[in-house]
Amino acid sequence: MASPVEQFKLKPLLPLEVGGLDLSYTTSALWMTITVIGVTAFLTLSMRGGRLVPGRWQSMAEMSYEFIAGMVRETVGNEGRQYFPLVLTLFLFILFGNLMGMIPYAYTFTSQIIVTFAMAFTIFVGVTILGLVKHGTHFFTLFFPSGTPIALAPVLIPIEVISYFVRPVSLSVRLFANMMAGHTMMKVFGGFVVALGIFGVAPMVLIVALTGFEIMVAVLQAYVFAMLTCMYLNDAINLH
């Protein structure tokens, strides 16, 4: 029987090496490509009709658009409007990646820490640069809010600085850990079904429940990622 973590193994599909760097086109990259094509197809094909009274597909596309638009407006305010494309892209990319990972034999690229960390770190660096450009040195008041007694500075500033640097880590680990744990758990219970023979009905029932739970987690984690991106943008744009 295959090990439960076998599913996370990367298989190079098109081996490619440039200057000692392994740039192979892997299963992970393949599913990222499929996700990008899927999201593009979802948005363009469903909006092709563009009717005043939307159909089923158009409703879904409009709902995801309005959901993120509302999130950006409520969290960041009107200044956040220009960052809406970024948040929508991130949300749909992660959402489709998570959900497509639920298809049997598909590869869940969000279960790779390097993929989620790359996204989280890009957001972290981008938001920091945005804050510095927008507010200059005033940006550093984020680490020492006004009204705090000056005696607390030596304690508070290191804590605030560390808690700022924790952001990309917690953002990426949350998504990666949820996806990886969920898929491993499903595989483990899948192994039980095979091993137990006729009594495998019990873990089978559990897998049905677990699949529903995993779909919820897939949507929820995409939401949390987008929500936190909005909150970090808000911190950078409107310093408190």
């Binding site: 009709g49 984690q221 949390v224 408190h240």
Partner: protein, 134 residues
């Protein structure tokens, strides 16, 4: 021409017929909604609490705790290696990282007014001071 395109054409024709009245109506409603949105944009985040799922916030807190300790320890270890002060910075940064993790977890729960109704129904004043400590 099959039934599907026929049906669509019918519907479009119907849309065309009643557009004048319904478009005016829609325009008025869009304008009203936009005015409302503009007024609301001043006080952000205070009303997201009601719409954001509680589970999402619950899942955040645990990761924040672990990530805080992890990043603090890694930073301490790295600085120790660099400055050759082992193990003092590791100890200090472990504690600072743990504090940062707790702070982040606390914020994940209370920052959005998610602490079981705490700070939820309060007025502008309270939510303003609440955001101040973020």
């Amino acid at each position: 021409m099959d039934a599907w395109t026929e049906g669509r054409r019918c519907r479009m024709a119907k849309d065309d017929q009643d557009t004048p009245a319904s478009l005016d109506d829609l325009d008025a409603r869009v304008r009203a909604a936009r005015d409302g949105a503009e007024r609301k944009s001043g006080k952000r985040a205070s009303d997201t609490a009601a719409t954001s799922p509680l589970v999402g916030m619950a899942m955040r807190a645990g990761v924040e705790l672990v990530a805080g300790v992890g990043v603090g320890t890694a930073a301490g270890y790295g600085l120790d290696k660099w400055l050759d002060t082992s193990p003092w910075l590791l100890i200090v940064f472990f504690l600072v990282g743990a504090a940062a993790g707790m702070l982040n977890a606390y914020r994940a729960v209370s920052g959005l007014g998610m602490a079981l109704g705490y700070r939820r129904g309060t007025d502008e004043n309270a939510s303003g001071s609440g955001r101040g400590d973020e």
